[in-house]
C-alpha cells in the first residue's frame, strides 16, 4: 500500500489508487516541492519502472497541491484544474520501484484562466523529467 500522508488527500482531488504524491515537503504561494515513493502496485508501474504518464500525473498532482494547500489555508473551496497542454516535455529516465521522487513546480504565469507552470522531477542526483504545463482552472466556486 502507498504510504501517503493523510493530509495530502485534503489538498488534491485524486483518490487512491490515483494518488501520485505522498507529501508536501515545501511550499509557498508560487512554488511547491512534493515527494513520492514509487511502489510496485502503482497503476503506472510497468516492469518495475514508473512510466511516462505516471511521471506527468505526478507533476500535475504536484501543481494541484499548491492550489489545494492555499485554498485550505484560506478556508476556500478549491477550483479544479485540468491539464490543458504540456510543452517541452523531456523524460530523461524512468524511475524504478523503491525510488523516491522529488517534484518541483513553479507557477511562472497566469493568463486568463490558464495557469502556466514549470515542473521538474528529480530522483537523488538524477533528473527524471521536466516540462511546461498549462492547467485550465475551472471556476467551480459559484
Amino acid at each position: 500500500m502507498q504510504k501517503f500522508s493523510p493530509d495530502i488527500l485534503e489538498y488534491i482531488p485524486q483518490r487512491p489508487p490515483m494518488v501520485m504524491i505522498d507529501r508536501i515537503v515545501d511550499i509557498n504561494e508560487s512554488k511547491v516541492e512534493c515527494q513520492f515513493k514509487v511502489i510496485n502496485d502503482n497503476l503506472f508501474v510497468v516492469d518495475g519502472k514508473l512510466i511516462e504518464s505516471g511521471i506527468i500525473e505526478n507533476i500535475a498532482q504536484t501543481v494541484a497541491s499548491v492550489a489545494g494547500y492555499w485554498a485550505k489555508e484560506k478556508n476556500e473551496k478549491v477550483n479544479l484544474g485540468y491539464i490543458a497542454a504540456i510543452k517541452n516535455l523531456n523524460i530523461h529516465a524512468l524511475p524504478s520501484v523503491g525510488d523516491v521522487l522529488c517534484t518541483f513546480v513553479e507557477i511562472v504565469n497566469e493568463v486568463f484562466n490558464v495557469t502556466i507552470v514549470h515542473g521538474k522531477v528529480i530522483c537523488g542526483n538524477t533528473k527524471i523529467a521536466d516540462c511546461e504545463m498549462r492547467i485550465y482552472i475551472a471556476d467551480n466556486r459559484k
Partner: protein, 89 residues
Amino acid sequence: MTQIEIAEKIIPFLVEEFEIERELINPEANLRDTLQLDSLDYVDLVVVIESNFGFKVKQGDFQNLATFKDFYTYVQGKVNASDEASNNL
C-alpha cells in the same frame, strides 16, 4: 514605439512559437488564420506579448483584432499608454 518596431520585435517570436513562415506574416493577413490559433494558442500569444512588451493583456482584448495590423495597433496603444503613464509619475 512605431508599428514597424513592434512588428520587428514580435515577428521572430511568432515565427518560432507558432512555427510559421516569416513571409506569411504581413499587415493585412488574418491573425487567427495565419497563426492557426486555437484557444490555448491565444495563451501562448499573450505570454509572448506580456514578456516582450511588459503590459498585462485582458481577457477580451483580442476580440476585435482581425489582422496583424490590428494586432500591432493594439500593442502600440498599450505600450504608448504605459509609457505615458510612466512619464506622468
